[in-house]
């Protein structure tokens, strides 16, 4: 069987890739996708620990993360569309309406 450590390392790799994507890409859609990837890597960690300790609460909490991810992507894309109506751009460097 595969030890739990390898799952955690894979999860850390995916989280790092997502974080680098959030910091380096300027397209708001890509940033939302990278945030989803980071949430998914946390899900993988939770499920791996649930398997290690033989405890279902970790798997239950993944449901909460999935609900938050769904809500986050819906509201995030709505904000993106609302901003696109204003500025015709999805570059987050153009999101400076509240900057004075």
């Amino acid at each position: 069987m595969v030890p739990i450590n390898y799952y955690l390392i894979l999860s850390a790799i995916i989280f790092t890739i997502g974080a680098i994507g959030v910091l380096s890409r300027r397209n708001a859609l890509i940033i939302i996708m990278c945030v989803e990837m980071m949430l998914n890597s946390v899900n993988l960690t939770l499920i791996a620990f649930a398997g290690q300790w033989n405890n279902l609460v970790g798997q239950i909490f993944v449901f909460m993360v999935m609900a938050v991810a769904a809500a986050e992507v819906a509201v995030g894309l709505a904000i993106l569309i609302a901003h696109f109506h204003l500025s015709k751009s999805t570059n987050i460097d153009d999101v400076n309406l509240m900057k004075w």
Binding site: I14, I17, L29, V57, Q59, A70, A71, A74, L97
Partner: protein
């Protein structure tokens, strides 16, 4: 190195490759499709971790819902090739890369020194729906209600935000003028 290890390395490499594809791809649609592959491979890994119901939920919610939503928005607002570099703050990507590699090295070193604990193949009784359902609706019923309220608020918020503003009551027209 047994069959399970080879399978894990293959699926994990596919997952990491798809994640890199999401970040580096120049076209937004390609990123969304890489994201689909990434979610599917994670669902396979959930099955190997005794979470069968969560694997199904992963495919339904993420691959079936969120990726399709993102694809709809890409089609709605158009997706030409976009520049990936920041116009200013050009040191932020390199700082992010350095800090990310630092974090990854720290986590990996810690985990490789920890004792390798294999997963009990009977852990959580395979995560079948009946086990998940009993735990979810007996001990964690408050979580279900919280998730319901959260999703309701998100639904209303998304409806209000994405509504096309009428020209005479545009909330930012007086700000821009």
């Amino acid at each position: 190195m047994d069959f399970a290890m080879i399978f894990f390395i293959l699926v994990g490499a596919l997952s990491v490759g798809a994640a890199v594809g999401v970040v580096t791809s120049k076209i937004a649609v390609h990123s969304a499709l890489f994201l689909l592959v990434h979610f599917a491979t994670l669902a396979i890994l959930y099955v190997t971790l005794n979470a069968q119901f969560l694997a199904a939920a992963q495919v339904i919610i993420y691959a079936g819902g969120i990726v399709i939503l993102i694809l709809f928005v890409i089609m709605l607002i158009g997706s030409g090739p976009m520049e990936t570099r920041a116009a200013y703050r050009s040191w932020v990507p390199y700082a992010g890369l350095a800090l990310g590699i630092l974090m990854l090295a720290g986590v990996s070193l810690t985990l490789l020194q920890a004792p390798a604990t294999p997963i009990d193949p009977e852990a959580n009784q395979g995560g079948v729906p009946i086990v998940i359902g009993l735990t979810l609706y007996s001990q964690n019923i408050l979580l279900v209600q919280l998730a319901a309220i959260l999703l309701l608020v998100a639904l209303i918020g998304a409806l209000l935000l994405a509504r096309r503003p009428k020209p005479e009551e545009s909330p930012t027209s007086n700000l821009r003028s």
